[in-house]
């Protein structure tokens, strides 16, 4: 029952799609007749023939008329076959059959009879070509063409659009056409058309309304002013949404950079100033991966997620074993020693790779942007980073809450001696935890490589911010890190238009400094026994 129903609907769908195409396609003999008429008639008559071709609804019509406008529509003298010249260099020109589109290879220039055109016809053609896409079968093409018309409409075009509106059955295309027409009508002083443009985010529509608002007709001016006001409100909402998006995007970068630190500093209590350099290592892993797999930036990027984690985790474990374990219980010394490590790592990258920034390619599926409406478009790479940050956060949360390792980590942090006497290998837990935190830093680096420059100073620019996020959120609290990162990012972006990027950053820093005075243990302080450590 259900299968047959879905089959029926599928069939219906096919019919719906195919029907207009069948209608639109004229037969080859009709088309040849039209082209013949175009070739043989006088300039005055050609105008009518052009209109006829354009109105035929044939999908190939655009190709013919474009070729004709460029002087590339020709007839082979002997056979009378119509061709489109693809390349007109040299003695022999490459041509394709105008009807079938088949390539006919090279034909001597002398055998070709070009169909003549003059400037008056060219102008006429320009107007027709601008609406010819409105008559094709594909509704997407029609919609795009209708959108392109906004602000370009003149008197003859307005008439054409009026005619097209009678037959257009796609509601989106209708709306776009109506709007395009309304812009023209408002420019001509039509009050009724103002209502159509009300709430439109299109720049050309605003230009038209602005013009109307200056007009002498008080009714028109008032209506236009009201419409403009509504548009302003709508724009404000959109720009607020955009700010929020940028804020979340910056925030998710901060969360990514800080979340590893939230493990090593927050949970283990180890101050790792080389955290930023672990992020840098992750970013360089992405770059290295792309060098290994040239031409496949997407695959390289996906492979660098585990690779970046591994590289940074191993580096982190090496740091833990060689330096940090000797400084247990001396947090300030740990801070200094790991800072030394960070200097060494930075200089290592400068010496071994290059002091200059490296370019990491953004794969195609990550570039571009998502258009929400005409005033709001979201860049894809940042969208991916936001998603990635959330996934990493969720993963870490799972590990800390639901796995044996997470349990052991929490036990060792709360009471090392007790945990050890319960049979937990504290050293092993230290290594694994530090590796995990460092690995996450590597993941942050992979993500950052897509939105900032990859250079030796990459880590340095994030280390202070990361510590701020962790301290602001509350040490030892992963949720705190998430909330702190996202809110700091948003605050920063909200302040930026008023204060400028640098001042916004300063304000945020000062805010955190003051906040810590008020609540030394951050937004979400730890409670109970863990707080005593």
């Amino acid at each position: 029952m259900s299968i047959s129903r879905s089959l029926t609907s599928l069939l219906l769908l096919c019919l719906l799609v195919l029907a207009p195409m069948a209608q639109a396609q004229s037969t080859d003999s009709e088309a040849t007749a039209l082209l013949q008429a175009l070739a043989d008639s006088s300039y005055a008559q050609k105008k009518d023939v052009i209109a006829e071709i354009a109105g035929s609804g044939d999908e190939r019509a655009r190709g013919w008329l474009e070729a004709f406008a460029n002087g590339k529509l020709s007839r082979i003298e002997d056979s009378g076959q119509f061709v489109i010249v693809l390349s007109n260099r040299g003695r022999n020109w490459t041509v394709a059959d105008a009807l079938s589109g088949e390539s006919l290879g090279e034909v001597s220039r002398r055998d070709l009879d070009s169909i003549r055109i003059n400037n008056a016809l060219r102008n006429e053609l320009d107007g027709i070509l601008s609406v010819i896409d409105l008559t094709v079968a594909n509704p997407d093409t029609r919609l795009a063409a209708a959108r392109d018309l906004r602000g370009e409409v003149d008197a003859p075009l307005a008439e054409r659009i009026d005619g097209l509106l009678q037959t257009e059955d796609n509601s989106d295309v209708r709306a776009a056409l109506t709007k395009a027409l309304a812009i023209y009508q408002v420019e001509q002083g039509d009050v009724a058309a103002v209502a159509i443009l009300d709430g439109s985010l299109n720049a050309r529509a605003r230009v038209a309304l602005n013009g109307a608002a200056q007009s002498d007709d008080p009714e028109l001016a008032a209506a236009a002013a009201q419409a403009l006001k509504n548009i302003e409100t709508k724009l404000k909402i959109n720009s607020a949404a955009e700010t929020l998006y940028f804020g979340l995007s910056l925030g998710s970068v901060l969360v990514l950079a800080a979340i590893g630190l939230a493990i090593t500093f927050g949970v283990m209590g180890v101050i790792n100033m080389a955290h930023g350099e672990l992020i840098m290592l992750g970013a360089y892993t992405t770059w290295g991966m792309q060098q290994l797999l040239p031409g496949q930036p997407g695959l390289a990027l996906i492979l660098s997620i585990p690779a970046g984690f591994l590289v940074a985790a191993l580096a982190g474990i090496a740091i833990e074993r060689s330096v940090i374990q000797h400084l247990k219980g001396r947090p300030l010394e740990t801070l200094l020693a790991t800072f030394g490590v960070s200097l060494i790592l930075q200089q290592l990258v400068r010496t071994v790779i290059s002091p200059l920034n490296r370019t990491v390619i953004t794969p195609e599926w990550m570039s571009g942007s998502l258009m929400v409406n005409e005033a709001l478009s979201l860049t894809l790479n940042r969208l991916y980073v936001i998603g990635f940050a959330l996934v990493v956060f969720a993963g870490l949360m799972l590990i800390m809450r639901k796995t044996r390792l997470g349990l052991e980590v929490r036990a060792v942090t709360q009471n090392r001696a007790m945990a050890r006497s319960m049979g937990i290998k504290a050293t092993r837990v230290d290594i694994l935890t530090f590796g995990l935190g460092s690995g996450v830093a590597g993941l942050a680096g992979v993500a950052l490589s897509q939105i900032t420059n990859v250079g030796p100073n990459l880590g340095q620019s994030y280390i202070i911010d990361s510590f701020m996020v962790v301290v602001f959120g509350g040490v030892g609290n992963l949720w705190g890190t998430l909330v702190a990162g996202l809110s700091l990012g948003t605050i920063n972006q909200v302040l930026e238009p008023w204060a400028g990027a640098v001042l916004a950053k300063i304000v945020v820093l000062v805010f955190i400094i003051l906040f810590i005075q008020k609540r030394p243990r951050g937004l979400f302080p730890q409670k109970g026994r863990a707080a005593e450590g």
């Binding site: 101050i271 330096v323 000797h326 400084l327 001396r330 947090p331 300030l332 010394e333 740990t334 801070l335 200094l336 020693a337 800072f339 030394g340 490590v341 960070s342 200097l343 060494i344 930075q346 200089q347 290592l348 400068r350 010496t351 202070i464 510590f467 701020m468 301290v471 640098v502 001042l503 950053k505 300063i506 820093l509 000062v510 955190i512 400094i513 003051l514 810590i516 005075q517 008020k518 030394p520």
Partner: protein, 383 residues
């Protein structure tokens, strides 16, 4: 209670002079300064024993760093506060001095404006911002050298110590402080010359800054400032306040419960240290001839801590040794193989903290202790 003992016990500043280590330190310092002065003045240029004006200025710069290191050691070594933002106080003192030197240029700048410094003319500023007024007077500028860092330390310290922000948190927010100031001073709109800072100085107190005599004078002044700073710090350490601050370092909660106002002790010592750092910065600027926002960079502040760590924390003279050694090494390294300097510095951070927790001074003390126990058993060693 603490404050009253401070005000009435007058001889606290004289107490260090009875101490062997201070006598030795001052002896060596003045001896070295006198020797350099003599070698510079007596021997003509080109002579093997001649110390060039360049070297004199370089040594003066090292002494400024040494004073800064002493200031850091006072708060880190004796108060337990690891400040990663002392560079900010250093730079503020430097900027106060720089502003004075800027105003001394007068109409000898590139644009020849009698009042506005060159960078303001360049930015099309019409009049002097309010905070630049008064810096044409030496006494005002020199007061600001102490007041500007002191005030910042007072406000920052008041907020931080009152809320009992200590340990790593304090370190990180001091770092954030200097980072925020660096970003702020990089802005042209702040009115401190932005990226380029203040430079092109002509003279100080009427003396030409480019003449050898002025340079020598500044070097000697720096030596004296270091001596005074050292004696002040040593005096504080030996006073009752110093004992309390060491108690705060080792057991903050216990000290509080005994009845001491820990936050006030911390605040006082912190402000004194900031002022010393400011003086160091003020002496540094005329000798190097420029002050720009890079002095605020967190890296510089943390480097200072490593000088102290290398020399030996909580000894004061160790801080001086560390500052001189590291900076001499830096001069040599950056000249011979510039790439290797960060490796060396980073390695130093790691090695000192892991292998040499008490620094060079710790090594010296261990030897001294061994000798002492050989000679007179049980004699107390002042730490």
């Amino acid at each position: 209670m603490v404050a009253s003992t401070l005000n009435t016990s007058k001889p606290w500043l004289l107490r260090p002079f009875n101490e062997r280590s201070t006598q030795l330190f001052l002896g060596i310092l003045f001896g070295a300064v006198a020797l350099v002065t003599l070698l510079h003045l007596v021997f003509p240029e080109g002579h093997a024993l001649h110390v060039s004006a360049y070297t004199v200025t370089l040594l003066g710069k090292y002494l400024c760093y040494a004073l800064l290191a002493v200031a850091v050691d006072l708060v880190w070594g004796f108060l337990g506060i690891l400040s990663l933002g002392h560079g900010a106080f250093f730079a503020l003192g430097g900027y106060a001095m720089g502003m004075y030197l800027m105003r001394q240029i007068g109409d000898r700048g590139v644009y020849g404006d009698p009042v506005l410094p060159d960078f303001m003319v360049f930015l099309n500023w019409q009049e002097l911002p309010w905070f630049w007024h008064g810096f044409d007077m030496a006494w005002f500028a020199f007061a600001m050298v102490l007041l500007a860092p002191g005030l910042l330390a007072l406000v920052f310290g008041f907020l931080a110590f009152r809320s009992r922000v200590t340990g790593v948190y304090l370190s990180i927010i001091t770092q954030a402080l200097t980072f925020a100031l660096m970003l702020a001073f990089f802005r042209n709109e702040m009115g401190f010359g932005g990226n380029n800072g203040l430079t092109d100085f002509k003279d100080i107190l009427g003396f030409d800054l480019r003449s050898d005599a002025t340079r020598l004078g500044l070097f000697i002044a720096t030596g004296i400032a270091l001596a005074i700073g050292y004696v002040i710090c040593r005096g504080i350490v030996l006073s009752k306040l110093g004992r309390v601050s060491v108690a705060c370092r080792d057991a903050e909660a216990r000290t509080r419960f005994i009845g001491y106002r820990v936050d006030r002790v911390q605040l006082f010592v912190f402000v004194v240290s900031a002022m010393l750092a400011g003086v160091a910065g003020a002496l540094y600027v005329p000798q190097v001839g420029i002050i720009n926002p890079s002095e605020f960079s967190p890296l510089f502040s943390i480097e200072v801590v490593v000088w102290v760590a290398l020399g030996g924390r909580a000894t004061l003279y160790g801080a001086v040794i560390g500052a001189l050694l590291v900076n001499y090494a830096k001069t040599v390294f950056t000249g011979v193989m510039p790439d290797a300097w960060l490796f060396a510095l980073g390695g130093l951070f790691v090695l000192v903290t892991v292998l040499l927790p008490k620094g060079i001074a710790g090594l010296l003390q261990r030897r001294k202790k061994a000798e002492d126990s050989d000679n007179v058993a049980g004699q107390e060693v002042t730490a």
